[in-house]
Amino acid sequence: MGARAGWPDSGAGWPDGAAREDAAQAVTALYEAHAVGLIRLAVVMLGDRAAAEDVVQEAFCGLYRRWGQLDEPGKAQSYVRAATLNGCRSELRQRIRAQRRGGPAPDAADAVSAEQAALLGEEHQLVLTALRRLPDRQREALVLRFYLDQSEPEIAAAMGISRGTVKSTTSRALAALGRLLQEAGR
């Protein structure tokens, strides 16, 4: 992404004054349009509404910081979606690290909030728990395919992998998920 024409460079291409205000307005408008959908996506990935909100907030803050470097504002939505997925991945890895350290962070990598546990039935919770035990790439492929209903080319673009890899990853992920569900007695 190169610096956008007409914006004075400040540091890492950050605009000043009125341009900064415009950027804030544009990012805020995008947030208002897409925040709920992205929080939903993050909730599916994380099982924790607050962590999901944090991840989405940070994704939009990242967009704001990089706004002056965007060649095409139309790509902003793709950026925040990718940033949200990255944020979810980081959050889950932090949970696993914390669990391995035996620290006070969430009890398990698949920890869900009390709210989520209350709102979702046992069956859904079982499936989501199994989903969150899959490797990052498999989990994301399944969420993009079966939650967002994205096509293989869209998933390939979002994940930065080939269509063939999407197909094989999705297939393996479904098989792994089925095994986990079977092990759970369903």
Binding site: Y31, V36, G47, F60, C61, P106, A114
Partner: protein
């Protein structure tokens, strides 16, 4: 339970969509862009964790409450207070950004108590609200998750000059019922609205030991000294009545603000009521707290004769009407290393995983912030919010969803006066402005 013939794909699709559907349209929190966008990403853990914001009720539903709107004559705009302490350090800024931006405090420096809405980060006064006549003072406040909706309990003022209690207590008119009001405010214009909640019961103040507004702002829990669940009315003259079928004793009543419908739970049985309390021993304490889903109500419970203090968890959706059915999440006496009961409030974190309180690990030991796992009842060591060696925590006033960020009151500020601040990562960040000097405060 889903059909056993569903494929893995179908089960996955149903589960993910159900999870996504828990996020309601319009429920995203406001976007908070960095003040200095060139400063780079925020450090890990510096994100706001207001987990209890998520179950905010649509305003339209809450607006259906049948009540009288009190005119704005009860509202006074105040000059913003000067933030104390100058510019915050980066760590202090992160701490300040991790707590709700506003709180409502009942002032005790000048009785009768007014309700003062303040900005947490600066101490600036957004508005000051006086109790509408005939009420003379506010006695309880509790907040919803949206940080804009609060419920205040008001009492009449009866100036007298003698009595057995303290001056403030003597002048409260305990012979007339409490009035309840919902306070909503818009910090952008400094407007506040006080609405009478007429459908709540007119209990005397001596019967109520605490209030707790549900996170969505639709229900109010009252901790009561005496409650009868069943056919008879509660006795007003003390604890002499034995427990009877249906239940009479200390209890909790949860009211739906819109309709006045209520459910009650009572601690019945042979335990003498005079020895058994739902609440704590602090005037203006906050003995009740909710999980973010509005389902579990944590309450402090103690029996003087048994010397046991517990934090119990009441499932407000369960059919039982006995507080005995509420699970004891933490028992303080004889429990592991913890030999003494909690000081002041005990708060369940909105995610339902921990109980946060101030206690000492050994009898007579130094008080410190402690967090207990709801699952095991054991202390989480070290506590997620950390602790401080230099300050003696006195009370926990607020906890974020997972207990990593707390607002605590200490009794050992630089001047020796009470000091309120944020405890996060083992660092105490005083809230700008003076010590609260309040009788009751809610975020």
């Amino acid at each position: 339970m889903m059909s056993p013939v569903m494929s893995t794909e179908e089960r996955l699709r149903a589960a993910t969509r159900a999870a996504g559907a828990t996020v309601l349209p319009g429920s995203a929190p406001p976007l908070r862009l960095p003040a200095d966008p060139a400063a780079g990403p925020r450090p890990e853990g510096a994100l706001r964790r207001r987990r209890w914001l998520r179950t905010l009720t649509p305003l339209a539903a809450a607006a259906a409450v049948a009540a009288v709107v009190i005119a704005s004559l009860t509202l006074t705009r105040s000059v913003p207070a000067r933030p104390g302490g100058g510019a915050a350090s980066p760590a202090g800024s992160a701490a300040l950004s991790s707590v709700p931006p506003y709180y409502v405090a009942l002032t005790s420096a000048a009785m009768p108590a007014q309700a003062v809405i303040r900005a947490t980060a600066t101490g600036a006064i957004v508005a000051t609200v006086r109790p509408p006549k005939p009420y003379g003072t506010f006695i309880f406040v509790s907040g919803a998750a949206d940080d804009r909706t609060f419920v205040l309990a008001a009492q009449r003022w009866w100036p007298i000059t003698s009595g057995s209690g303290g001056p403030d207590a003597q002048q409260r008119d305990n012979t007339t019922p409490i009035g309840y009001f919902r306070l909503r405010f818009d910090p952008t214009v400094g407007a506040a609205r006080l609405t009478r909640l007429e459908r709540l019961p007119g209990l005397d103040s001596t019967e109520v030991t605490g209030i707790g507004l549900s996170p969505d702002g639709t229900r109010l829990a009252l901790a009561l000294r005496f409650l009868t669940v069943g056919r008879t009315r509660p006795g007003r003259n003390g604890p002499g009545s034995p427990g009877e079928p249906g239940g009479h004793g200390p209890g909790i009543q949860v009211y739906t603000l819109a309709t006045g419908a209520s459910r009650g739970w009572v601690w019945p049985g042979p335990t003498p009521s005079s020895d058994t309390w739902v609440g704590n021993d602090k005037p203006g304490g906050q003995p009740l707290s909710w999980t973010a889903d509005g389902r579990i109500l944590a309450f402090q419970f103690w029996t003087e004769s048994g010397g046991v203090t517990q934090v119990r968890l009441l499932d407000t959706t369960a059919p039982d009407d006995s507080l005995r059915a509420a699970r004891a999440a933490v028992s303080f006496v004889g429990h592991g290393q913890v030999k003494t009961g909690p000081i002041g409030n005990s708060i369940i974190t909105p995610d339902g995983t921990k109980i946060v309180t101030v206690a000492s690990r050994t009898r007579g030991g130094r008080s410190e912030v402690m967090e207990f796992s709801v699952r095991t009842g054991q202390p989480v060591i070290p506590p997620p919010a950390g602790n401080t060696a230099s300050l003696g925590p006195w009370n926990v006033l607020w906890a974020d969803s997972s207990g990593r960020t707390l607002i605590v009151e200490t009794q050992s500020g630089p001047s020796g006066a009470p000091l309120t601040g944020i405890l996060r990562g083992g660092r105490f960040t005083p809230l700008p402005g003076a010590a609260l000097q309040t009788s009751n405060v809610a975020w």
